[in-house]
Symmetry: C2
Subunit: 145 residues, 2 copies
């Protein structure tokens, strides 16, 4: 299969608000007032969790089809904790981002527990966003004026 | 500073569409028809790029304030390529996610080149989403029925 390239463009509408264009879709990211923003949309790390949720859904259904198991319903809660001190320039003691992400998946399926465990590990390894987070991904930033 | 916990909830509206709730905000993720979806929203890896864009904007302005430099405008293009073969279960030759992410930042600022280079490296290290991608982040998935 050939590589697929995905791209978005983004504009700083304010120091906290970012307007993103992904193909024909517009997204708004902001920070809540408690983090200095104007709360026009979810913040970047909430988008990070949303990205993982969407990827686990799609991958979950692809893998379930392959395994011949049904998923009647799927809901998830995703959480992560971070210390804002490094982001704010106050301390390097903790890393900047989430220290870890937990995902609780509630699945309605007739598959037994061992089958769902195999499903879970397969989904985790084949989900592109999970792979990018768990195994790390190079980010190359070029600045022009 | 204390840790801050961020959470979202998600529902599989279809095998490709995910409805996410982040506080009072609703987000829709889907896949384009070319990837088997109904194109109700950007796809998960486009959200991943959006998340990084938003984080670089916020962190960019925090660091600029500290350094005493102005940012009159900031636009970005973010891109990544991935091979869908692992996601589709066809091959493990390539990783599942983006092989790398490139960010082109166009900054309008009176700061000189050396100052902007220091700004860039500081932003990259202090942006939570960039940290999560570059340095890797544990994802713990628990399935309940």
């Amino acid at each position: 299969m050939s590589d697929i390239t995905f791209s978005v463009t983004a504009t700083a509408a304010s120091p906290t608000r970012t307007d993103v264009q992904a193909r024909n879709f517009s997204l708004v990211l902001d920070e809540p007032p408690s983090l200095g923003g104007t709360d026009s949309g979810p913040n970047p790390v909430e988008y990070e969790l949303a990205s993982l949720a969407g990827c686990l859904n799609v991958t979950g259904h692809v893998v379930a089809r392959e395994m011949g198991i049904s998923i009647e319903s799927l809901t998830m809660t995703l959480s992560g904790a971070l210390n804002p001190a490094k982001f704010m320039g106050q301390s390097d003691a903790d890393r900047a981002g989430f220290k870890g992400i937990t995902v609780e998946m509630k699945v309605s399926s007739s598959a037994d527990e061992a089958t769902l465990e195999k499903w879970r590990t397969t989904v985790e390894s084949r989900c592109p966003v999970s792979d990018n987070l768990v195994n790390g991904t190079g980010v190359s930033i070029k600045v022009t004026t």
